[in-house]
């Protein structure tokens, strides 16, 4: 338990440390994009702090592997912005897309799993769960690319480079979602229905939510 607390603290320290380093490097004239990189790292640090603090306070106890996945996606993006890897390493964008897509698919897996467990009106057979997780992951990938393209068209942000680049992003989104689909399928085979719901500690809230949803559907 102590080790786990140490690891989670380290996740926050790394991202906040990167934010301080980036801002400091621009303040002392060692970098020209330090404020932007610092802001990215700071937002990432705040984002990773939310599930960690919720876990420590026993509000929502997300599994540590899931928090690690969120950290990895945020860390790789922040590092890419800070060190300029998005511009210097042509494979960096693909790696971040892969892990971001895995993260989105993992979130969708948890949502679908909880909906299946708590809502009487919803039942998704375990063998179909990975298919839906992959579909949701892919859809988010498409929506993200449309967002990038819209930003480029409207504000000339330069987020998309070429056809090959966009297609590689989409391919990585697909592979990331597929990986999470396989992981989710293995998880469902090894755990009893409801395990994740209990582990998350959301039972009191979600039981009430499912009752409310059921009454809403009956109207």
């Amino acid at each position: 338990m102590k080790g786990e607390r140490g690891i989670l603290t380290l996740f926050m320290l790394i991202l906040f440390g990167m934010a301080a380093y980036s801002i400091g490097s621009e303040l002392f004239g060692a970098s020209t994009n330090g404020y932007y990189a610092g802001a990215t790292c700071l937002v990432s640090g705040i984002a990773i702090s939310i599930p960690i603090v919720l876990r420590w306070r026993d509000k929502i106890t997300l599994p540590v592997w899931f928090i690690f996945l969120i950290f990895l996606a945020l860390f790789l993006h922040a590092l890419g912005v800070m060190q300029g890897y998005y511009d210097t390493l042509n494979w960096w964008d693909s790696v971040t897309h892969y892990f971001s897509s895995m993260m989105v698919a993992a979130i969708s897996f948890i949502f679908i799993y909880l909906a299946d467990w708590y809502l009487e009106s919803v039942h998704i057979p375990p063998r179909l769960m990975p298919v839906i997780v992959v579909a949701v992951g892919c859809s988010f990938g498409v929506i993200w690319e449309i967002f990038e393209w819209s930003a480029d068209t409207l504000f000339d942000t330069g987020m998309q480079y070429s056809l090959d680049d966009t297609m590689q992003d989409l391919l990585m989104d697909f592979l990331g979602a597929l990986t999470m689909g396989v992981v989710g399928w293995i998880y469902l085979r090894q755990h009893s229905p409801g395990d994740l719901a209990m582990e998350l500690g959301l039972d009191p809230y979600l039981s009430r939510l499912s009752e409310w949803w059921g009454s809403l559907l009956e109207r």
Binding site: A115, L119, S121, V122, H123, I124, P125, R127, L128, V131, I132, V134, A135, V136, C138, S139, G141, V142, I143, E145, I146, W149, Q160, S162, L163, D165, T166, M167, L170, L171, D173, F174, L217
Partner: protein, 209 residues
């Protein structure tokens, strides 16, 4: 309502639509259109499953899905034979294929694989099913570009216009679907509910009426 093997719709599908799709799959392999090959094989599965697996499906739903799935291939065949200067129409045909396959893959999952969904879940999953099918569609096109050296996607802009049209169309379709379900209930898509079968495992050949 079960569909007997000698019913006109069953014969039309078995003797005309399925062979036509089989031929078009062969043609698409020869024409190096990976997209139509994949879509064709999947469409054949979607139509043949209720026909040969003996599962119940509303006759109107099956007819509509078979015709919608075959329509893009009819346009593709006309395109090959007549070579008209259709330009945008060819692109619309491909988008139509994406919509048909996305929608009916989803319908297939709901009808035959034991899924139970409420209105909101139906609408959301129908949307993601269609958008993800769109993504697989462009990945297929891109693979065609790489493997066969063809140029079905000209540039990043045309790719994004296709993806944007698919996403927008999927969202519009979901809104229409949701409004229809508010008025007529989930039964309009849960085709099994109106066939008299109690669940997806019911078999038409074993007395589901």
């Amino acid at each position: 309502m079960k569909i007997p093997r000698d019913a006109p719709i069953s014969r039309l599908l078995r003797l005309a639509v399925l062979p036509f799709l089989l031929i078009m799959v062969g043609v698409s392999i020869w024409d190096q259109r990976l997209f139509f090959t994949i879509m064709g094989i999947w469409s054949i599965y979607l139509i043949a499953y209720p026909l040969y697996h003996g599962r119940c499906l509303r006759e109107d739903v099956l007819t509509a899905s078979a015709l919608l799935l075959a329509l893009p291939f009819a346009t593709y065949a006309a395109d090959l034979l007549l070579k008209p200067d259709w330009g945008t129409l060819a692109q619309i045909t491909e988008l139509m294929a994406v919509f048909s396959v996305g929608l009916f893959s989803f319908l297939h999952l709901v009808s035959f694989h034991g899924m139970r969904l409420d209105r909101l879940a139906l609408t959301l999953l129908c949307t993601v099913s269609t958008i993800s099918m769109g993504m697989l569609f462009v990945l297929g096109q891109y693979l065609s570009n790489i493997i066969f050296g063809s140029q079905f996607i000209a540039d990043n802009n045309s790719l994004m216009v296709s993806l944007g049209a698919i996403a927008l169309g999927a969202i519009l379709m979901a809104v229409v679907l949701h409004i229809s379900m508010l008025r007529k209930g989930v039964g309009i898509i849960r085709s099994l509910e109106d066939t008299g079968c109690e669940d997806a495992s019911s078999d038409c050949r074993e007395g589901c009426s």
